[in-house]
């Protein structure tokens, strides 16, 4: 479960700009190599999902984070076309990961397509409850 992100599609983008890949960027809390600043000798936490559901949640959280950090960059650099293309890649990937996750595990958003026969919004635990293991 450790190696929870190994898509080819992001490897293709790794050489672009000075960005971390979404998995590393998500764990560090920063997509931009030039902005990254380490505190003392602390290393970022290597996220270790313990279930398939958690693995898939981390994957979509990583892509969502990558898209968001590019979003903040694009707010002040709206004319950077290559960054915008990568942002589009991430948001497209995010949308499909969210759909897949919701199909398997229930809604992450209240307007989820998956909530069509019964109100399952409140059936799964809430994010602040942590792991029940």
């Amino acid at each position: 479960m450790n190696n929870y992100m190994n898509y080819d599609w992001y490897r293709a983008n790794q050489s672009m700009n000075n960005l971390f890949n979404p998995k590393d960027g998500f764990e560090k809390g920063n997509m931009f190599e030039n902005l990254f600043s380490q505190y003392k000798n602390y290393q970022e936490e290597k996220l270790k999902p313990i279930t398939e559901q958690e693995k898939e949640l981390y994957e979509l959280s990583a892509i969502s984070f990558a898209a968001h950090d590019l979003n903040l960059y694009l707010d002040t650099h709206p004319d950077d076309k290559s960054m915008f293309m990568l942002f589009k890649d991430y948001t497209n990937k995010l949308n499909s990961l969210v759909e897949e996750y919701e199909r398997k595990y229930g809604p992450l958003n209240i307007n989820s397509k998956e909530m069509n026969t019964s109100f399952t919004w409140e059936s799964d635990k809430w994010p602040w409850e942590g792991r029940n293991v």
Partner: protein, 212 residues
Amino acid sequence: MFSYHKRLQYPVNIKKKDLRMAKYLVTQYGGPNGELGAALRYLNQKMTMPDNKGKSLLNDIGTEELGHVEMLETMIYQLMKDATLEEIKEAGLDTHYAEHAKALFPTDSNGVPFQTSYFATTGDPLADLSEDMAAEQKARAVYENLIDLTNDPDVIGPLLWLRQREIVHYARFKELFEYYEKNDKEKDTMYYKNNNEFLTQQLNMMNSNYYM
């Protein structure tokens, strides 16, 4: 408007209760450099940013900070939830318990409640962005102090992550500040000219009323 995503921006899974740490962490929830203050400050300031770059950046960082508020709440909740009354008294959280039991309440580490003065908004984009840059640096420093105060990896992980976000936000605010500063220099002459005309008009009006 806002819609909720049923997940944290970054995972928090704290297994070990630690009431002292909960007491320190609460300042990043409701203290002067905390996430609640940051979220509300940016979402407040976005209204009067002079262009779309500023409006979108303040909006998007403010929105992210709401996600950080939830992370901080989660950390405090998980650190406190299994505590006994004895442990609560020992940690000096009995005064919190008296009014709030195990519910959360936004204060700093000394129990000073959240204050709207943390918004620190002037309506001047350069002054407001200087405030925002300082706020991000102060929050970074506080996260470092908090990391120094614990050795629980479940707590250090999210704190390192939140610290890193302060660094990114600082860099974005700085870009916007420098962009406005440059534009301002170009516009300055025009601004003062208009302002002088306005003041002269006002003075003339006052004078004419006075002699009527």
